[in-house]
Symmetry: C2
Subunit: 210 residues, 2 copies
């Protein structure tokens, strides 16, 4: 996500234009399906000029992925022990949904990378990502043990939040066509539905749930 060695203003500008164009293309076609021609054209540069800023196609792709995981996990990192557990998780849900709304290309880039076998980020999945999920799963189990959260599998809870929120970025074409809506309209409805879904399932005592 960060442009390399952007010493001068023109370097920063062009590197950024390349990364922005590359995000468009890689997120749609994946690493192998994308071409430098497409990226160069989208960036408004010639192909050799593009390769003046990055040594190779893979270097552009790696640069995009470099910052992605941290950004992507920020909403989960912000899940804290303080506050009401149900509201904490609903807050996480909203932050993740907001990521899909604001950064759909990053979501699709991630989806494409996973679909292709995660060749570039498998280490981070087994490392940082797993460690973070393990950590938050322990917190969720604590909340459950305290009786402040309904007893659910914390890992599958997280998976389901990933799935439902990223769906609105990754499958946006399908969502828009089925609903007959355009733009961000689905997100407001999605937030209402998902809030109900998780509040119902996570509120500990059904007899006092509303």
């Amino acid at each position: 996500m960060s442009a390399p060695r952007a010493r001068t203003r023109i370097q920063a500008k062009n590197s950024q234009a390349i990364l922005d164009a590359a995000l468009d293309i890689f997120s749609q076609y994946g690493f192998r399906g994308a071409t430098l021609d497409q990226i160069a054209e989208r960036a408004g540069l010639s192909k050799p000029n593009l390769l003046y800023y990055f040594p190779s196609k893979e270097a552009i792709y790696v640069a995009l992925l470099a910052g992605l995981m941290d950004t992507w996990l920020a909403p989960l990192r912000a899940l804290h022990h303080d506050g009401d557990p149900v509201e904490e998780i609903l807050g996480y849900l909203r932050r993740k949904l907001e990521m899909s709304r604001l950064y759909p290309r990053e979501s699709r880039l991630f989806a494409n990378e996973i679909l292709q076998g995660a060749p570039q980020i498998l280490d981070q999945i087994e490392g940082d990502l797993k460690a973070l999920v393990d950590d938050k799963a322990a917190l969720i189990r604590l909340w459950i043990a305290e009786g402040r959260l309904a007893p659910v599998d914390p890992y599958h809870l997280v998976f389901s939040i990933w799935a439902t929120t990223q769906h609105y970025a990754d499958f946006d074409i399908q969502v828009h066509r089925v609903l007959g809506q355009e733009g961000d309209a689905p997100f407001a409805e999605a937030e209402r539905f998902l809030t109900h879904l998780y509040r119902s399932a996570l509120t500990p005592n059904p007899l006092t749930a509303r």
Copy 2:
């Protein structure tokens, strides 16, 4: 999904081998990222021989997609008015999850096609798929009006079922690495979690819900 003009036994066998190999490759890399070399090698045929059975790369891809939509929508088609609404939807959920378990490649093929802008299946999404979802959404609204289902947005309910179930096929690498599990182990847990999730949210009267 069906092999074209399989008159003789050897034609049927080779066409099937090609489609099976193509499903492996296309589902991982998408249409553009896949190569005929890969498919031919996986199928155990030479590249020209492969093109004896199918006229082009696109023809193989289209053949794979041809039957996919029907298969993919079968679980939703089987959602009927009879029986308890909550259990009907949970049944749909289980069928869809079973599709992810048994046909993960088909799920990823679909995901790749959507990510790339659905060039081949946009018509079916706006046609058959939208019509079916509209139809089932009406049924769900009827159940809600009858007070037999909690008031939820039927479209986003369907989206969330798609998202949560397909996640276990499309992101299986991530699921397996985070859980430290292999094979079908995650599916049993996922079914338990998702059943709780949707039963909680869909059961109409919270005061009698368990």
